[in-house]
């Protein structure tokens, strides 16, 4: 759920960029350090980034009969870790703005915060937390992907509510309003994305163990 170009006031654009920047800089510095030590990892990271972008080009069905694309935050955070996802997600969002006119340059900071930071960190935290307390892998992956997607959507609604508070009920009322307007598509989509991510992770663990183990050192060190 991208916020479109020009839709946020200037102070909000700058504010969200300032909030997102430290996380992206932190992730970038870790990636740069890794690439200085292991230049061959560059291709792997680029392939991972391209994969995240292509993920968002796939149309998945929503229970309501409509169709939309997954955010990929849960799958990306699970495969590459949240720090790498923050950097790759920023590049992907920039590409989406310039190749799809989806999102924007002025709203990049806000979109990065909701889709490349909040969503992946929620998904990663949930996955680690649920597997830590002994939940099954399928349940942990489903919850991480679905709630990571929903977290993205809730953060975007909050960003819009902060920018456009409801004249009667204020920011909370506006947040409820934006959530209500987008819920019919976003909630079923989150469930679909959760189910899809479980299928993908199961298949990857069964048939692509080599690729997953190739990712581990890159993710750990980045």
């Amino acid at each position: 759920m991208h916020i479109m170009e020009g839709y946020l006031p200037l102070s909000h654009c700058l504010g969200w960029a300032a909030v997102s920047l430290p996380v992206v800089v932190y992730g970038s510095r870790r990636i740069i350090r890794l690439l200085n030590e292991k230049p061959e990892t560059k291709m792997l990271l680029a392939a991972s980034g391209a994969y995240v972008f292509v993920l968002s080009a796939l149309k998945i069905p929503s229970v309501t009969g409509s169709c939309s694309h997954p955010t990929g935050t849960g799958l990306a955070a699970g495969l590459f870790g949240p720090a790498v996802t923050a950097v790759l997600g920023t590049i992907v969002l920039l590409f989406q703005a310039l190749l799809l006119a989806h999102g924007g340059l002025s709203t990049l900071g806000a979109n990065v915060f909701s889709m490349a930071i909040a969503g992946p960190f929620v998904a990663y935290g949930l996955y680690r937390g649920l597997t830590g307390i002994g939940a099954s892998a399928a349940l942990a992956i489903f919850a991480a992907a679905a709630l990571g997607d929903l977290a993205t959507y809730c953060v975007t609604a909050l960003q819009l509510a902060l920018a456009f508070p409801d004249p009667v009920s204020g920011t909370l009322g506006a947040a409820a309003k934006f959530l209500a307007v987008f819920a019919p598509t976003q909630v079923p989509l989150a469930i679909s994305e959760g189910l899809l991510t479980v299928i993908v992770m199961n298949l990857l663990q069964r048939y692509s163990a080599d690729e997953l183990s190739a990712l581990k050192p890159a993710v750990r060190e980045a």
């Binding site: 479109m4 792997l44 590049i91 002025s106 819009l160």
Partner: protein
């Protein structure tokens, strides 16, 4: 996606300096965000759409197709702004807001549309590779620039795989039901990651055979930006801002 890239690669202003096109886009965005005047937004919209359609000669059909998706999203957001959460009946319901809120929502609709015309100007006239090269020249870490550039090149290969795989699954009745679609997409995405890594490994081997030392260097035929043109762009948009302010 191919539409925007094709237009960026083939338009009449393809070889104009990236810095000048980027400066015009950023100046237009800044004017839209700073101005409180609808007239300024209308002027920016007309100017940027005019530059794209008549200056860079982007096809009108391509322009409209590229604009349709963001405009649909903005329309949804504007609708949300024009509605108010009403709790007076004892349960929450959405009702039309007062005239001032509706007018604010319409102002943001106009401002976003003008801003999108600025974004489309850049997206439809400037290849992404030129923008990445420009950011690298302006100080972006070369490793990050390389990752962005490689991502851009790999996206097209993976997109081809994705589309072929999706068509194959569709033809084999993989999209017959909701469950079937999810399973088909799961298979497709799971098959795509090994392919992405295989592409990466082949690229790595190919580069290693050609003396790769950790940096990818490309030649650029782009002419440098003219300080005179950059000043003219800045002054032009400043004038637009002042016109809107005075009107």
């Amino acid at each position: 996606m191919r539409l925007l890239d094709r237009s960026a690669q083939t338009n009449r202003w393809r070889h104009l300096p990236t810095a000048e096109k980027l400066a015009a886009t950023l100046a237009a965005l800044a004017v839209c965000l700073l101005s409180r005047s609808p007239l300024t937004d209308v002027l920016v919209l007309v100017l940027m759409a005019g530059l794209t359609l008549f200056g860079a000669r982007v096809r009108a059909a391509d322009y409209l197709r590229a604009a349709s998706l963001p405009l649909a999203f903005i329309a949804t957001g504007t609708l949300a702004q024009m509605l108010v959460l009403d709790l007076s009946a004892g349960w929450p319901r959405l009702v039309l807001a007062d005239a001032s809120s509706v007018s604010t929502a319409l102002f943001f609709l106009l401002r976003s549309t003008a801003s999108i015309s600025a974004l489309l100007f850049l997206a439809l006239t400037t290849p992404l590779t030129a923008l990445i090269a420009w950011t690298e020249r302006r100080g972006l870490n070369p490793h990050l620039a390389d990752i962005a550039l490689l991502m851009f090149r790999m996206i097209w290969l993976l997109l081809d795989c994705l589309e072929r795989g999706e068509a194959a699954l569709k033809n084999r009745l993989g999209h017959r039901s909701y469950r079937g679609i999810l399973r088909s997409h799961g298979l497709l995405l799971a098959a795509l990651l090994p392919r992405a890594f295989a592409h990466a490994r082949r690229l790595e081997s190919g580069l290693a055979a050609r003396g790769y030392e950790g940096r990818l260097l490309f030649l650029s035929a782009e002419t440098p930006a003219s300080p005179l043109n950059l000043t003219a762009i800045g002054l032009g948009f400043a004038a637009l801002f002042v016109i809107g302010f005075l009107a």
